[in-house]
């Protein structure tokens, strides 16, 4: 593996630093660049978007009030609900002529959250990924297997484009069929893999069953791992077991897709300041927090065209570090995601809200109001079980019909959540009742 060390002239190895001028930009210069982009963004929104203008006016903010980066805190927040409930046409700032792609994430009521992209949006997203994976030590000589889902989910194509941009060879394996994945890793001399950390652990288990020792029998050395929370403990175990360096990556479909990953130092994900303004706030008071203080991540995408993102509350709890990284990159570093502000679950890389599960269940008249979601990790993979009470009057002494009901619920669940869940019918009155806020999720996974 290449090490990220400046050469004698203090310049980065061009293979491990995709855009040295931008990535190593002195902090003051970067601040000025961010402010320039922020002002332009606010003016554009105020002048051309009814939606954002109304929002700003309601908050009593005018573009002229933005003089420093700190002034960004005056701008109103956006939340996931905005993207979900507001008609896409109101959020879109460009016409079909300028759109080049759509992606979507699963929605809470079965309606997906749509994200549109202009060519510049795709380019900036790709640039972000390219810088990140290059900083992790991936270059033109590498073969990277993208084992994130290709399609509406942003993971597959996001990593694909980023890896192609830096000249790496991409194996677009998408998800599933672990034996084939391992066969490709061996036969194509794959050196890096992009996957959820739990999927890589799963591949580790499958490889042992197949008699393949990843450390000894393959060239796999780097894993670009994200789309779900994981821990340093899991990273240590994986690196030791599989000999694969675990690089954390973060991003959500609202922001474009996977955007920022760690460099080879593995000490926080570099948030490219020319493209993004990141803040951490106290989720209760909205107060901006300082470096190292834990709070909710709030993101403004400075150059996003199709669907601008301004002070978007991600719901993810984390920290930001301002110190320059040991690798020399000057941009903010994003810490591990340690939790959620809301009740969102991340299962096999897919966001799941208990309200989505409730929506599916309540559309079946045979079922009662009480349900429980049990998430566990079977082997390395997440497993979701939904337990729901059968209404007494829906009980029929016909096992085939009861099984049919179960299958119908499971298939609706799969269509809505984009993830398969096991369904269990339980006796009425047996699930716990709550007087206050219902606690419907039992997460047995140990991160």
């Amino acid at each position: 593996m290449r090490l990220l060390v400046p050469n004698a002239q203090g310049e980065m190895d061009p293979m491990t630093c995709w855009n040295p001028k931008m990535e190593m930009m002195p902090k003051e210069e970067l601040d000025r660049l961010q402010l320039k982009h922020l002002k332009a963004l606010v003016h554009r929104l105020y002048d051309y978007s009814r939606f954002y203008r109304d929002r700003m006016e309601a908050a009593g903010v005018h573009p002229d009030h933005i003089w420093t980066l700190e002034d960004a805190a005056k701008l109103p927040y956006m939340v996931k609900r905005d993207l979900r409930e507001i008609e896409p046409e109101r959020l879109l700032m460009v016409s079909n002529r300028e759109l080049v792609r759509y992606h979507a994430s699963s929605g809470t009521t079965g309606r997906p959250t749509i994200a549109g992209y202009t060519q510049a949006d795709v380019n900036n997203w790709t640039e972000s990924v390219a810088r990140g994976i290059a900083s992790a030590g991936i270059g033109p000589d590498d073969v990277i297997q993208v084992a994130y889902t290709y399609g509406l989910f942003t993971g597959g194509l996001g990593l694909h484009y980023g890896a192609e941009r830096i000249g790496a060879t991409v194996v677009p394996a998408s998800t599933g069929n672990s034996e084939r994945q391992l066969d490709l890793i061996k036969r194509l001399n794959v050196t890096a893999i992009a996957a959820t950390p739990s999927y890589l652990m799963h591949l580790g288990e499958v490889s042992e069953k197949m008699g393949i020792n990843i450390k000894r029998d393959t060239k796999l050395r780097i894993g670009i791992l994200g789309a779900e929370p994981w821990s340093d403990g899991m990273r240590d175990r994986m690196q030791d077991w599989l000999g694969v360096k675990g690089i954390n990556i973060y991003g959500t479909s609202e922001l474009s897709g996977p955007l920022w990953c760690e460099c080879a130092e593995q000490n926080g994900m570099h948030v490219w300041g020319d493209l993004t303004l990141a803040e951490v706030i106290d989720p209760d008071t909205g107060e901006n927090l300082g470096p190292g203080e834990k709070g909710e991540l709030v993101i403004t995408m400075l150059q996003k065209e199709a669907v601008p993102i301004v002070r978007y509350r991600t719901g993810d709890i984390t920290t930001l570090e301002t110190e320059t990284c040991a690798c020399g990159r000057t941009h903010l570093r994003l810490g591990r995601i340690t939790g959620r502000v809301d009740d969102m679950l991340i299962i096999r890389g897919i966001n799941v809200f208990p309200s989505q599960v409730e929506y599916v269940l309540m559309s079946n008249p045979e079922l009662g109001n009480e349900f429980q979601i049990v998430v566990d990790r079977k082997g390395a993979l997440d497993d979701m079980l939904v337990r729901v009470e059968l209404k007494p009057e829906s009980f029929i002494d016909n096992v085939a019909k009861l099984e049919c009901l179960k299958d119908r619920i499971a298939s609706r669940m799969r269509n809505t959540l984009m993830i398969s869940a096991e369904v269990e019918l339980v006796e009425p009155g047996t699930l716990p009742r709550f007087e206050g806020k219902a606690k419907r999720v039992i997460d047995k996974r140990k991160l």
Partner: protein, 145 residues
């Protein structure tokens, strides 16, 4: 006119989660109500089961189980008196097949000198007529008191 109703045996069907002690709860309720269980079977679903019982006092058992929070239903079944000898089940099922009567489920028990086959069918009246017309005997509800 034939009183078919008297052949409709009230079987108890109980929806039961598949976990330790659940059957014991049901049996305990029956013991407490001094209800005798005459015939019994469990159909296995995934994660749950359906307990089927013939008892001497169906109404009392239903009340007791409902009170204890069980999901209980009466299901009408037929109780066919079977000759307790090889080929008995074959003869009966051959006759039902020829009449185009589909069996949803069935279970048997031996009740000396005869055997009893409990049948759950889609069209209970037609099955009743067919079985009686073939010269076979059906037990009526009084048999289970």
């Amino acid at each position: 006119m034939l009183d078919r109703e008297k052949y409709h045996i009230k079987q108890l069907s109980i929806f039961s989660e598949n976990r330790p002690g659940r059957l014991m709860d049901i049996a305990g309720s029956m013991k407490e109500a001094k209800v005798n269980i005459l015939g019994f079977t469990i159909a296995e679903g995934s994660g749950y089961g359906v307990v089927r019982m013939l008892v001497d006092q169906p109404e009392k058992a239903h009340q007791m189980l409902t009170k204890e929070g069980h999901v209980v239903k009466f299901t009408d079944v037929l109780a066919v008196k079977m000759e307790d000898k090889p080929g008995g089940l074959y003869d009966l099922t051959l006759m039902l097949r020829d009449a185009g009567i589909n069996i949803e489920y069935a279970y048997g028990y031996r009740n000396s000198p005869a055997a009893v086959l409990i049948l759950r069918v889609e069209d209970i009246d037609r099955a009743t007529d067919t079985i009686l017309a073939s010269g076979r005997e059906l037990y009526d509800v009084s048999h289970f008191k």
